[in-house]
Symmetry: C2
Subunit: 323 residues, 2 copies
């Protein structure tokens, strides 16, 4: 697959889409090609602000992203929306990235919306999304929104690939965490209470105070104190203030070096995760290991050998047959 890198770097969305297809391809020769492409564009990446957005179904993520994205376009920004949705049952694409959800945004030439890759191999769907993010940056997008549903493990994966992680909530002070895991709240740089409109305005304010108090109890190890804000995406209210908060974060995080530090740490952690996955794959794909494994599994199951001896034999086999 010949990718026109100059067109990509000039912001041509067809070249970008083709590059993403290459990155998402499962064919081994495409994988190598994709890595070479990524290394080539790497110097022109990193200039966006990477924003993760999560929230339970019904919180209004699409409406928020549409309103937020349109506001960013009005400020002259170019916006890419990516999705991480490992749970999607729809083959070949994700409901999350469905362009009909963000109709206005998808019509603009300065917005790029890409559904979640249907599956990934090494590093899973998150690996593809990380690589797609780099391609979008190379294509000059200023803001990358990475969206995920607030269920499962995908929130952790998104939090570990973005600069700023935002959790959308409903106005519902009494409802504790609304099904969001406590670990996710601890990762949030901001909680945004959406649907703060009509009869829910007072409730949204209560909810906001509730979470402000709750967040005080959590420790943070960066310069940034997580914020609680409210907005109404459908009425387009307070969207500007949310961008104000995030761009303020970005300016400070660049100035004090913490943005670069965070990205470096994320990259190193990701490298370690990939290393482990690759080792596991080497083991799984080794024909001799694959032959012996069921036999050793039986012996361990029946107490005929120890787990240690069985593991040692498999490792010896893996490194001998590599010779």
């Amino acid at each position: 697959m010949a990718i026109d890198i100059q067109a990509l770097q000039a912001g041509n969305s067809r070249a970008l889409a083709k590059a993403i297809t290459l990155v998402e391809s499962k064919r081994i020769e495409h994988r190598t090609e994709a890595q070479l492409l990524l290394e080539q564009v790497l110097p022109s990446t990193g200039n966006s602000i990477r924003i993760g957005i999560t929230g339970i179904p019904g919180v209004g993520k699409s409406t928020f992203i549409e309103a937020f994205g349109l506001y960013l376009l009005s400020q002259g920004k170019r916006v890419a929306v990516l999705a991480v949705d490992p749970s999607s049952p729809i083959a070949g694409g994700s409901i999350l990235g469905d362009k009909t959800r963000m109709e206005m945004l998808s019509r603009s030439k300065d917005a790029f919306i890409r559904p979640s890759p249907s599956e990934g191999s090494l590093g899973g769907v998150a690996q593809k999304t990380r690589e797609t993010m780099l391609l979008c940056e190379a294509a000059g997008y200023d803001v990358i929104l990475v969206e995920t549903v607030g269920v499962g493990q995908s929130e952790y994966e998104v939090a570990s690939m973005v600069d700023f992680f935002m959790v959308l909530m409903l106005p519902n002070a009494g409802d504790e965490l609304q099904g969001i895991k406590k670990g996710i709240i601890e990762l949030a740089d901001a909680l945004v209470i959406n649907k703060a409109d009509g009869e829910s305005i007072n409730l949204a304010q209560q909810t906001r105070r509730h979470y402000e108090n709750a967040l005080h109890l959590l420790r943070h190890n960066t310069f940034w104190t997580p914020q609680v804000m409210s907005c109404s995406a459908i009425k387009n209210e307070n969207i500007e203030a949310i961008w104000g908060m995030i761009s303020g974060f970005k300016i400070d995080a660049i100035k004090n070096g913490s943005l670069q530090e965070k990205r470096s740490r994320q990259a190193r952690e990701w490298m370690n995760k990939l290393l482990h996955e690759m080792l596991e794959m080497k083991l799984k794909q080794n024909p001799e290991v694959r032959d012996l494994l069921p036999h050793l599994n039986d012996k361990v199951t029946n107490g005929e050998t120890t787990p240690y001896l069985a593991a040692t034999k498999l490792i010896d086999l893996l490194f001998k047959s590599a010779k």
Copy 2:
């Protein structure tokens, strides 16, 4: 180190102690020797009931184990007490296994008390304790008590190597989980409220009802419904009933096959854990990988290469230099 296997299997505690020293040794030739020994004794293992005991400091673990152990001795059982204490700051042994804590028990020839190994390599302290457990079984001990403090990760490790996992608690109904992690309670086959004596008797009963209600909310996937009991180790009250519960569990679990099933699953999971640790160690110990790693770490940190490419290079190097 020549181990007298016949003496070991005849229950000679000096031969047992020497075998454990071999298993705990960090020298590579001892490691191989230990594995051969374990494979030789394997057919005579598995006949004990393996009981894990945890609880926060101050709950009375030593007093409980002394009372429980003495009761078992009076029933003609031979008892081994092992400890898993990775956090122990004392080199060469653990405060947990200190024999002075279980003075009466340690004087009996039918009791064997072994402090926590000070450190482990592959599989950590838990690996050594698993192997020591097998040696104790080969030496004919009927009941193995594996003790750990209720902090950190060691409870999970103990729960994954025993047949029956018991959490000691204090009489304190209002105090929720008393610093015990919720995940630990979910693993418990029994909660035992110790110090149910004197003025605390009523409180202990309340605590017991409190946890009985709480446990009802938890799902269980075995035949066994977790029990809540109370006792006073220091007054030797209700110790017999606790043994009654555990021996009842053992009889049923043998009859319906779930004991064998649980042990088989534990062994397979342990094999997988060791496999991963061994792979990681291969990577760490490879001289070429070790040379290149800091350089690639820098490149990833500075955004000069992708985590994927860096990981691929390291893996290629590991398997090429094995050739």
